[in-house]
């Protein structure tokens, strides 16, 4: 597994290494100059000893001179003794100093010690010779001992000079070593620092350049631009974040190519115009539609291809107008213009013009109009025909009815056996036919009648109908529930027919129940106001529900329940004319519920 690298870590390492190198350099210089420094200390001490020995020799010589001078009379006076004591004290002090300074140098130390010993011997001798009246002051003896002392001290000087010379030579010879060490270490340090710096630069440089390149590409609109991730360090993380950003950008932003391909693939003509109405860009369909080449179109004024002045068009609205192809052909178009700056939120003064060729839809529209006209003409003819047929049928039927009535009245008693029954049957059939014809006439009338939509009080209408029904059959036991306060918009006459039919049906089909239950109410279904008429009547098989609203389709025989079979067909037509729908739910033997909606707007 690759270890996570980090530039911060690299930096820290670099700084640590450089610091270590600096420390090494300091230590190196210290080591290199240690010998020199120690040598200098030794040299200093030697020079001190040499100086002190020189002083000592001087003091000894002076003393000897004094001694000889004072000893002329072979006796030291008190005054002379004090002077001698002083000088001797000085010499003693110098000896102590010299011995202290030269402790490290055994040879010198022993020589000085020897000199001191000699001097003490001489002092003892001279004191003896001076104080003892029996002995004579032998200056040669003093000279001899002093000579030895001076020789010892001279030797010290010689040895020290020689040693200090050698030491100085050594220091002098090695005087460049600290400098050389410093320079060499500095050079090594420099090389190391350069190496570390180069490493760091390499670690940063390439990924940064790559990242800059990718950023430039992204800025130029190449949303696919991605940075290469070289290492898992801070720049790597940055590159990763950049890639993530570019990815999000690519998903959320559409590239130029993407937009162009959308424009090219659109089924409308798209034109980008400047503020003077000059065409700047068009899509392929524009070229195909107008018959110009793309280069011809670009730079052309919109006035050349469009009847309407684009300048005057209301933005963000569709205008129907005419356009002209290169060959001068005129065709209907739908034009809409939008300001680009509104969309792109930048002041560009550019407008996008969308032109839709509507010649085909215009053609279809007119075709539909024609067909509708033909259809309604046919419908009217049909209705007129059915009306006239029904109307014309009624005259002969009335004749049959009237004369059969006359026949019954005039010759009813003369008819024998079955003949009278047959005649009654003929009459019944004639009357039934008359009812059917009336129903057909009513139906066609309902279809054609003009509607006046007003606010209707459905509750009171229903109550009136129920009251009428109760008046016709006062003996029937019926529980009628009518919801209070039901209102709807509709045509008074037509809605009265509807309610008469629906409530009448309920009344009719509950006739065989001991206690009829009829309910008229209002409920909400799927956010719509739905009215319903519910009964506990005969009901029917839901498989035949479709047939129910078709004219002359009956689910029960005339003998079971009387009726023309036209009522529900009329209801359906009326509801449709009120822009509503009607449907039914029923269970055989348990009852039926009719639902209907009304959506007519008041006129």
């Amino acid at each position: 597994m690759k270890q996570t690298k980090s530039i911060t870590r690299s930096l820290t390492i670099t700084i640590a290494v450089i610091s270590l190198l600096l420390l090494l350099e300091v230590i190196g210089i210290g080591l290199a100059s240690r010998n020199t420094l120690e040598g200098l200390t030794d040299l200093h001490r030697m020079i001190q000893v040499i100086n002190q020995v020189r002083n000592l020799r001087q003091v000894v010589a002076t003393r000897t001179q004094f001694l000889k001078d004072f000893a002329r009379d072979n006796k030291a006076s008190a005054e002379e003794a004090v002077i001698l004591d002083n000088i001797e004290k000085q010499a003693d002090d110098l000896f102590v100093v010299c011995l202290q300074l030269s402790t490290a140098h055994k040879e010198v130390n022993s020589l000085i010690a020897e000199a001191q010993k000699g001097l003490l011997e001489e002092r003892a001798l001279s004191r003896k010779m001076l104080s003892d009246p029996n002995s004579i002051f032998e200056s040669t003896v003093i000279d001899q001992i002093i000579l030895e002392v001076q020789d010892s001290l001279g030797k010290v000087q010689l040895v020290l000079s020689k040693d200090s010379d050698a030491l100085f030579e050594r220091i002098f010879n090695s005087r460049f070593i600290p400098l050389i060490v410093a320079v060499v270490l500095a050079l090594i340090f420099l090389v190391f620092a350069l190496f570390m710096g180069y490493r760091l630069k390499r670690q940063i440089d390439l990924p940064i350049k790559n990242l800059i390149q990718s950023t430039k590409q992204l800025a130029e609109g190449n949303l696919r631009a991605r940075a290469t991730i070289y290492d898992v360090d801070e720049i790597g993380l940055l590159a990763h974040a950049f890639n993530a950003m570019a990815g999000t950008l690519e998903q959320s932003t559409v590239s130029r190519g993407y937009i162009e391909s959308i424009l090219e693939s659109m089924f409308n003509c798209i034109l980008v115009l400047d503020n003077k109405g000059t065409i700047l860009t068009v899509n392929r369909l524009t070229v195909q539609t107008f018959g110009y080449s793309k280069t011809e179109l670009i730079g052309l004024s919109m006035k050349a291809i469009l009847h309407e002045d684009v300048e005057l068009l209301d933005p963000n609205s569709n205008i129907e107008t005419d356009a002209y192809t290169r060959s001068g052909r005129k065709f209907p178009v739908l034009v809409s213009v939008a300001d680009l700056d509104e969309q792109a939120k930048m002041p560009s003064n550019l407008r996008v013009c969308v032109i839709q060729d509507i010649s085909e839809s215009k053609r279809l529209e007119s075709e539909i109009k024609e067909r509708n006209l033909a259809l309604s003409a046919a419908n009217q003819e049909l209705e007129a025909f059915s009306y006239s047929v029904s109307h014309d049928l009624r005259a002969p039927l009335r004749i049959i009815d009237g004369f059969s009535q006359a026949l019954v009245e005039d010759a009813g008693d003369q008819l024998q056996g079955e003949a009278k029954v047959h005649l009654e049957r003929i009459r019944a059939g004639v009357q039934r036919m008359g009812q059917l014809i009336d129903a057909v006439l009513n139906l066609s009338r309902l279809t054609r009648a003009a509607m006046t939509i007003v606010d209707l009080d459905l509750t009171s209408m229903a109550k009136t109908i129920i009251a009428e029904l109760r008046g016709l059959e006062p003996n029937r036991k019926a529980e009628v529930i009518i919801q209070e306060g039901m209102h709807a918009n509709g045509d008074l006459v037509l809605m009265k027919v509807t309610l008469e039919n629906l409530i009448g049906n309920a009344w009719k089909y509950t006739s065989k129940k001991e206690v009829a239950q009829i309910e008229f109410g209002q409920t909400m279904q799927d956010g719509l106001e739905v009215f319903y008429v519910k009964d506990n009547g005969a009901g029917f098989d839901m498989n035949y529900a479709k047939k129910l609203f078709t004219p002359f389709q009956r689910l029960h025989t005339q003998s079971e329940f009387s009726g023309t079979g036209i009522g529900l067909a009329s209801v359906k037509r009326i509801i449709h004319r009120h822009a509503g729908t009607i449907w039914v739910e029923s269970v055989v033997g348990e009852g039926t519920t009719f639902y209907f909606t009304l959506a007519a707007a008041p006129t």
Binding site: T140, D143, K155, L158
Partner: protein
């Protein structure tokens, strides 16, 4: 120094010269307390050049030379085997390189004897004819190189 003294010294010196001229031999004297009985020429040479500094008894050897004259010449010739100038050069060299000074020089036999008599480790040479003091003794030098 009084003129009389000078005259005496000069007279003595002249007398010595005459005496030395008559008697060529020199004898080595040491302090009477010195236990050494005899020396070799090589030892004399070592003593003179300060190559050897102590007697066997541990006493410092203090060689007393003589001022230039026939006696010294004889000493140098017979025991040291070097000319006067050679010796001078040698001591100049010694002074410069080892720090040793040339031995002190005395002019007369009597002062030499006084010096030797005063210091235990002292050694000097005098004319054979000189009458020795009581606190010095002659030390025999074994063989003289021919």
């Amino acid at each position: 120094m009084t003129l009389r003294n000078c005259i005496i010294i000069i007279t003595i010196m002249l007398a010595l010269q005459i005496a030395l001229a008559q008697s060529d031999d020199i004898v080595f004297i040491v302090n009477a307390e010195n236990p050494a009985e005899k020396l070799t020429v090589a030892e004399i040479r070592d003593f003179y050049f300060k190559r050897k500094r102590r007697w066997n008894s541990g006493e410092s050897i203090r060689f007393m030379d003589r001022t230039n004259g026939p006696l010294r010449e004889k000493f140098l010739k017979k025991y040291i085997n070097k000319t006067t100038s050679d010796v001078e050069l040698f001591w100049i060299g010694q002074k410069l390189y080892s720090g040793d000074s040339a031995p002190l020089k005395e002019a007369s036999d009597s002062t030499t004897m006084r010096f030797v008599g005063s210091l235990k480790g002292a050694i000097g040479y005098v004319s054979e004819a000189t009458v020795l003091r009581k606190n010095v003794k002659v030390i025999k030098v074994e063989s003289v190189e021919e």
